[in-house]
């Protein structure tokens, strides 16, 4: 991926690809719920479609009509002009086999020029299969999507752990595919009541033709661990906390703020926190209104996971720590000493004002 000599390739789109038009978002519908990343992609897809002067379409695949239609309506309200639906019992639970066939069939039938998917476990599982089936280009984990002067999709992504960014293009194949991680793009405003056109497409696949069976789905406990990416406030700790016990200081502040907590990658490696709580390039991307980083140096791998936060507050003993290069507010202090003070400040302020109210 890092080979820059590929940059010399010129655009010469083969004739049979010229019919490929419109921007698509493959919507993640599971257990009756649309993953928010799909709406974020519709927001981004809207801009691309407008720039190209084409339609924005959502692709909704699911097992029952009610949830598929509900998801389609949501797509309209988040900006889609039309929605392609595939409703079939074999699509009730996500399976690579069925979803790949459904999406590949749709692409071959209706020919989009751009196809976006969420870089979730589902999206990555599906995108790789679809792109390989179609023998087209796929850019993973894009953080920026633009249309260039020639009308092609320019997808920018971090590489080498975020040390570099590269812009990748699929000039001579269609569709141009990209995945985007949850929370990298902003959630667009919802327009209630907005409507659009639905195009139903049959799958034509019977359950006994499908090799892979879902024997069981074990839902995560109703813990908040999956909510980290979508939390409004996140407090995180790094190696500056010096011990697993001190991580409690992060949790205490999070509790007072009703926030989610997480940590940098070394904490996962040390076993202080679980992998679901890792924030950064190989963990979660977050986009909270407030992010408080305590004792985190701010390596590039961490930065790419948090720079979408509205307000980044960093506490670190080292005034030259990298985190101060992208934080909005900085305090040169020992997090172990400063976190309890900040927790207490919030606690007393909130309790006083709560009583007053």
């Amino acid at each position: 991926m890092s080979d820059t000599s590929r940059a010399s390739t010129k655009k010469a789109l083969p004739e049979h690809f010229k019919a490929y038009k419109h921007v698509w978002v493959a919507v993640e519908l599971e257990h009756g719920v649309v993953h928010p990343v799909s709406f974020e992609l519709l927001g981004e897809g809207r801009k691309l479609a407008d720039k190209r002067g084409v339609d924005l379409a959502g692709v909704v695949m699911g097992g029952d009509e009610a949830s598929v239609l509900a998801a389609a309506q949501e797509c309209f309200e988040y900006g889609a002009d039309l929605v392609y639906t595939v409703t079939d019992k074999v699509l009730a639970d996500y399976r690579n086999e069925t979803a790949t066939k459904a999406l590949t069939d749709l692409v071959n039938s209706y020919k989009p020029e751009i196809l976006l998917l969420g870089a979730t476990n589902l999206g990555r599982d599906l995108a790789g299969s679809v792109a390989t089936t179609l023998r087209t280009g796929l850019t993973a984990d894009s953080t920026g999507l633009e249309i260039d002067d020639e009308g092609s999709l320019a997808a920018t992504r971090p590489t080498f752990g975020g040390s570099l960014l590269c812009t990748i293009m699929t000039l001579n194949f269609r569709p141009q595919m990209a995945t985007v991680r949850p929370r990298v793009m902003a959630m667009p405003a919802r327009q209630p009541g907005r409507v659009g056109r639905i195009v139903e497409h049959p799958l034509g696949l019977a359950e006994d033709e499908v090799v892979t069976k879902v024997l069981k789905f074990i839902a995560d406990r109703a813990s908040n661990k999956a909510q980290l990416a979508y939390a409004d406030i996140v407090v995180a700790g790094g190696l500056g906390l010096r011990s697993a016990e001190n991580f409690q200081l992060v949790k205490s502040l999070a509790e007072v703020l009703g926030a989610e907590y997480g940590g940098s990658r070394p904490l996962v490696q040390k076993g202080w926190i679980t992998a679901e709580r890792q924030i950064g390039q190989t963990g979660k991307t977050i986009r909270p209104k407030l992010y408080i980083a305590a004792g985190i140096s701010g390596a590039i791998q961490h930065r790419v996971g948090v720079e979408g936060a509205d307000l980044i507050v960093a506490i670190n003993t080292d005034p030259n720590a990298q985190i101060f290069q992208f934080a909005h507010l900085g305090i040169v202090a020992d997090a172990i000493e400063f976190l309890p003070r900040l927790t207490e400040a919030f606690r007393s302020y909130l309790s006083v004002n709560r009583l007053a109210g």
């Binding site: 991926m1 690579n96 390989t132 850019t139 990748i168 024997l215 703020l257 909005h328 507010l329």
Partner: protein, 279 residues
């Protein structure tokens, strides 16, 4: 059971530096390692071999120096190592990479026996795409099992496998038919240390080294730069934030920090009040 594991030798990302002027990766002196995610795949393969008997063949595509990683895999207990190396592979994107690896896997099956299970790691730490595994599965017609957290059962007689797969919001218990491609989730096991005997064997082992022709690749247009639908248009360093952080002194106190947070995010203050009031 003969199991194949695809690995990649990567630069240790923690030690990567970018040249400030040319924006290129400064590879000199940066140690290379086996992609850490691949070690979970290798360990899982070794466990299956220990349980069912058979062999583990590790495969990597890369420059001749990728031999280091293969030899390392042998010290962990892999039985055979195959290096796929050719200048025709230079500049491969994920589609071209999956093409070359698929060809080598077919050749491995022909030379050393069918591989009902092919493993890869979840993704690499340099490219981070997680696309090559699914690419191989699709090309070879293997049933695809990504983000596997546990292999519950392998039924050799019935040619089925049952695994737990990390999905959105939960775990899927999936059953499918062999042959399969499994991408193994991180943290699911811990790579063994390898025995002294393995270390001796690895040191003197003769690796299998194939170029494109050896791997049975005829269509070189599907390899490397020519076989890659994506092009890298531009490489650049992340921009520094235009506005520097406002630094508060410890002496200002925690209250000053809180106040500044509320000044910048007024809506947050009201939300926190509601939260504190239990509404």
């Amino acid at each position: 059971m003969h199991i194949a594991v695809c690995m990649k030798q990567v630069p240790d990302s923690a030690q990567i530096r970018v040249h400030p002027v040319t924006n290129t990766i400064m590879r000199q002196g940066v140690p290379t390692i086996i992609n850490p995610y691949d070690l979970f795949a290798l360990e899982e393969a070794l466990r299956l071999r220990d349980k069912f008997g058979g062999e583990v063949t590790v495969l990597t595509m890369g420059p001749p120096m990728a031999e280091d990683s293969l030899r390392k895999a042998l010290t962990f207990g892999a039985d055979r190592a195959v290096l796929l190396t050719d200048r025709f592979f230079a500049g491969s994107d994920t589609l071209a990479t999956s093409f070359a690896l698929s060809a080598a896997l077919e050749k491995i099956a022909a030379e050393f026996g069918e591989t009902p299970i092919v493993f890869t790691g979840k993704q690499t730490i340099d490219g981070d795409t997680a696309q090559v595994g699914p690419g191989i599965a699709k090309r070879l017609g293997l049933n695809q099992l990504t983000y596997v957290s546990r292999i519950a059962e392998v039924d050799q007689a019935g040619q089925t496998i049952t695994v737990e797969r990390r999905a959105e919001g939960g775990v899927q218990l999936l059953q499918t038919r062999l042959p399969v491609l499994i991408t193994m989730l991180e943290g699911t096991n811990e790579i063994r240390r390898g025995s002294l005997a393995d270390a001796y064997r690895a040191a003197s082992a003769k690796l299998v080294s194939w170029n494109a022709a050896d791997a049975g690749i005829v269509d070189l247009a599907k390899c490397g730069l020519r076989g890659s639908p994506t092009i890298v248009k531009k490489v650049f360093a992340p921009q520094a934030r235009a506005e520097a952080a406002r630094m508060l002194a410890v002496e200002d106190g925690a209250e000053a920090v809180m106040t500044e947070i509320f000044v910048r995010q007024p809506a947050l203050e009201a939300e926190l009040m509601r939260f504190a009031s239990g509404q």
